[in-house]
C-alpha cells in the first residue's frame, strides 16, 4: 500500500481531521455541503474548503426536537452532529435543494445550527433544455456573489483554475473505477469508495497528488485472480464500510456503482470552453441525473442496465436509506427492468441510527447463492 493510500485510509477513522488541520495550517474557512450538485468549485475558488457532510452512524438525541421522525437519517444524523457541536469546525454550509427533506432542513439548520455563513442553491426540478441551463447559470451567479460577499472573492481566472483541479480529480477517480472494473482484486470495494468519499473532505489539489500516487501504486500491484461475484450497487450515500467489507467477505465485489458519494460524485467534467459559471451549470444540467431530479429524455433504468452490462456485474443491490422518497419512487421501475433482463437484484433498506450488518449478511448471501445457481 502506498504512503498516500495509507494516509487516506487513516482519515476514515476521523473524517474531519484533515479539514481541521487544513484550517489551522491555512487560516481558511470550511464550508459544509451535502449533495454532489453543490458548486464546490465556487467555494474552492474563494479560498475555502468544501467539506461534505453525510451524516454518521449514531443514535440521535437533539435532532428529534427539530425534525419529524419520517425523514431520512442523512438529514437526521447530520443535524444531530451540528446541534451537539461535532461540526464546530465549519464556518458555514451550503444547502442544495436536492429533495423536500434537504430543502426544509436548510431552514431548520439556518435557524438552529448557528454557523456564520448559510447559502442555498435551488436547482431546477426539470433539468433539460435551455430554460434549465439559463436558470442554473443565474442561480450559480447568485451563489457566487453570496460567496464573494461572505467568504472571499471569486474571480474568473481563479474559478477556472479550481475547475481544472476538480476535473483532474474527476478524471483520476474515473481511472480508478476503470482499473477496478478490469481487476476488482487490486483494491477492496470499501477502500475504493472511501477514496471517492475522501475527495470531498480534502482540498482538491492535495487529494489529486495523493490519488495520483495511490493509483500508480495500484497499477504496479500484481493482479490477484479474483473469484468473487461481481455486483453493481446503487443508492444515495454509501458510508457503511462494514457493509462493504461484509459483501467482500461473503464472496461479492462491487465493480461499479451509482452512489452520490460514488460514481455520481465524479461523473462528467466541466466543459472548459467559455464562461466558467456556464461550464459548471452545463455539467450539472447535462450529466446523468440522480432520482431527485428529472431529465425527461433520460431513462435511468436503461442507463443503469448499460452500466451493469459494461461492468460485468451479475447482480445488483439497491442500498437505500429508509424514508428516502426519490430513490424509493425510482426503485419499482428499475427493478422491473432488471427482472425483465434476468438480472438478480436485492433491495436493502437501512438507517444510520440502526445498522445491522448481520441481517444484511443473510440477504446478500442469499443473492450470491441465487447468482451462483445454488
Amino acid at each position: 500500500m502506498t504512503d498516500s493510500l495509507s494516509r487516506l485510509m487513516e482519515l476514515r477513522d476521523d473524517p474531519f481531521r484533515w479539514a481541521r488541520d487544513w484550517k489551522e495550517r491555512t487560516g481558511g474557512k470550511a464550508v459544509g455541503f451535502f449533495c454532489c450538485y453543490a458548486p464546490e468549485e465556487i467555494i474552492h475558488a474563494a479560498g475555502a474548503l468544501p467539506v461534505r457532510i453525510t451524516g454518521e452512524n449514531r443514535v440521535t438525541s437533539k435532532s428529534g426536537a427539530h425534525l419529524q421522525s419520517y425523514c431520512c437519517s442523512l438529514a437526521r444524523t447530520s443535524l444531530d452532529m451540528a446541534l451537539t457541536g461535532d461540526l464546530e469546525f465549519l464556518d458555514g454550509t451550503v444547502f442544495v435543494h436536492t429533495c423536500d427533506t434537504m430543502q426544509r432542513l436548510s431552514d431548520i439548520w439556518r435557524l438552529n445550527a448557528g454557523y456564520a455563513f448559510h447559502g442555498d442553491v435551488v436547482l431546477p426540478v426539470r433539468f433539460e433544455g435551455d430554460a434549465a441551463l439559463e436558470y442554473m447559470r443565474e442561480e450559480l451567479a447568485s451563489f457566487r456573489k453570496r460567496v464573494s460577499d461572505n467568504i472571499g472573492p471569486v474571480d474568473d481566472s481563479v474559478l477556472a483554475r479550481s475547475i481544472k483541479l476538480y476535473n483532474r480529480n474527476r478524471g483520476l477517480l474515473a481511472e480508478l473505477y476503470r482499473l477496478r472494473r478490469e481487476d476488482p482484486g487490486i483494491i477492496p470495494s470499501d477502500e475504493a469508495l472511501w477514496l471517492v468519499a475522501s475527495s470531498a473532505l480534502v482540498e482538491k489539489s492535495e487529494h489529486n497528488a495523493m490519488l495520483e500516487e495511490a493509483i500508480a501504486g495500484l497499477k504496479g500491484s500484481s493482479a490477484k485472480p479474483d473469484e468473487k461475484v461481481r455486483l453493481f450497487v446503487a443508492g444515495s450515500v454509501m458510508d457503511q464500510w462494514d457493509f462493504l467489507k461484509m459483501v467482500e467477505n461473503v464472496g461479492g465485489t462491487i465493480v461499479d456503482d451509482d452512489f452520490c458519494t460514488g460514481h455520481r460524485y465524479f461523473d462528467a467534467e466541466v466543459p472548459l470552453d467559455g464562461d466558467p459559471i456556464e461550464g459548471i451549470a452545463r455539467r450539472l444540467t447535462d450529466r446523468g441525473s440522480c432520482p431527485c431530479k428529472y431529465l425527461p429524455s433520460s431513462d435511468r433504468a436503461s442507463c443503469l442496465l448499460d452500466r451493469i452490462g459494461e461492468s460485468g456485474a451479475r447482480g445488483a443491490i439497491f442500498f437505500q436509506f429508509k424514508f428516502c422518497d426519490p430513490h424509493s419512487f425510482d426503485y419499482p421501475y428499475i427493478k422491473k427492468t432488471l427482472d425483465e433482463e434476468g438480472i438478480p437484484s436485492l433491495h436493502l433498506e437501512i438507517e444510520h441510527d440502526s445498522v445491522s450488518t448481520e441481517q444484511l449478511r443473510t440477504r446478500v448471501e442469499a443473492l450470491l447463492e441465487t447468482i451462483r445457481g445454488c
Partner: protein
C-alpha cells in the same frame, strides 16, 4: 452415504439426516442463548435418531440464523435457499414459501426447480412470528398450542389495529377489560398476523401453490387466516419446522454427488 443439514434458528435448532434421499433421522431442540451448543445438540440427537455416527456423514451443511456459529460444519447456506429447496422437495407444486419462524418471517418466490426467484424478509419486528403468538397467549392466559384452534371458533373477530407486538398486547389487555369475548380477540389477532404477512409477501411475485413453513405453520388459525387473505388453499407440510434443515441436507446430497 448419509448427509446432514442443521438449521440453527433463533428459537429452535433442527437437524435432518438423509440417506439415499430418505430422511433417516431428525431432531428439534430449543436454541437458548448459545447457537453453537444448540446446533451441536440438534446434530447429535438426529444422528442418534438415525443410528449413524458423525464420521459416517459424507457432507454437512449448516443454515439458519446461527449457521456461522456451527463449528462442526465448514459449509453454510442461507435459510432462504434452504427453505426453497426443502419446500420444493416435499411439494414440487409450491411456488411461494411463507416461512414464519420464532422471531422472523419471510416470503420466498421459487421456480419449478426450487430455485429462489425473489424473497422478502422481516427481521425488524416480531409481528407475525412465533414470538407474537407467545406474547398473546400469555396476555390471554391461553396455551400457545390452543390459540389457533380457538381462533376458528369465532364468528365475529374483534379487530386488533396495532401493527406492533408490544402495542397489540396492550390493546388486547384493554379489550379483555372491556369484556370483549376472548375467542373473538384471538380471531382478531390471527387476522392481524395474516394482514402483516400478506403485506410483506405481496412485495414479491406470489404464485400458487403457497406453502407455509416454520413453527407458526402448526397454528391452524394462522393458516386459515392466510388462506382467506391470499384467497387460495395453503399447503402445510408434514414437518414444517424441518424444511430448512431438509433443504440444507438436500444441497449437501447434491454437493456430495
Amino acid at each position: 452415504m448419509p448427509v446432514a443439514g442443521v438449521d440453527i434458528g433463533s428459537l429452535t435448532a433442527k437437524a435432518v439426516i438423509l440417506d439415499e434421499g430418505e430422511i433417516i433421522g431428525k431432531s428439534l431442540v430449543m436454541t437458548g442463548h448459545n447457537s453453537r451448543i444448540a446446533g451441536r445438540k440438534a446434530l447429535d440427537l438426529a444422528l442418534l435418531d438415525a443410528g449413524v455416527e458423525e464420521s459416517d456423514l459424507e457432507r454437512l451443511i449448516a443454515t439458519g440464523y446461527g449457521r456461522l456459529s456451527a463449528d462442526f460444519s465448514s459449509e453454510n447456506i442461507t435459510e432462504i435457499t434452504c427453505h426453497a429447496r426443502g419446500a420444493h422437495a416435499t411439494h414440487p407444486e409450491a411456488r411461494t414459501v411463507i416461512d414464519l419462524g420464532g422471531q422472523d418471517s419471510k416470503a420466498i418466490a421459487i421456480d419449478e426447480n426450487g430455485r429462489v426467484v425473489d424473497f422478502v424478509m422481516n427481521d425488524k419486528c416480531a409481528a407475525g412470528t412465533g414470538r407474537f403468538l407467545e406474547v398473546m397467549a400469555g396476555a390471554l392466559e391461553v396455551e400457545l398450542d390452543d390459540l389457533g384452534a380457538i381462533s376458528l371458533e369465532s364468528e365475529s373477530p374483534a379487530p386488533v389495529s396495532s401493527a406492533c407486538t408490544v402495542f397489540a398486547e396492550s390493546e388486547v389487555v384493554s379489550r379483555v377489560a372491556e369484556g370483549v369475548n376472548k375467542v373473538d380477540i384471538i380471531a382478531g389477532i390471527h387476522q392481524a398476523i395474516a394482514s402483516r404477512i400478506y403485506a410483506m409477501a405481496v412485495r414479491i411475485p406470489v404464485n400458487e401453490r403457497i406453502i407455509i413453513t416454520g413453527g407458526v405453520a402448526r397454528n391452524i388459525g394462522v393458516v386459515r387466516a392466510l388462506e382467506q387473505r391470499f384467497e387460495t388453499d395453503i399447503i402445510i407440510p408434514e414437518m414444517p419446522q424441518h424444511t430448512g434443515a431438509l433443504g440444507a441436507a438436500l444441497i449437501a446430497t447434491e454437493r456430495a454427488g
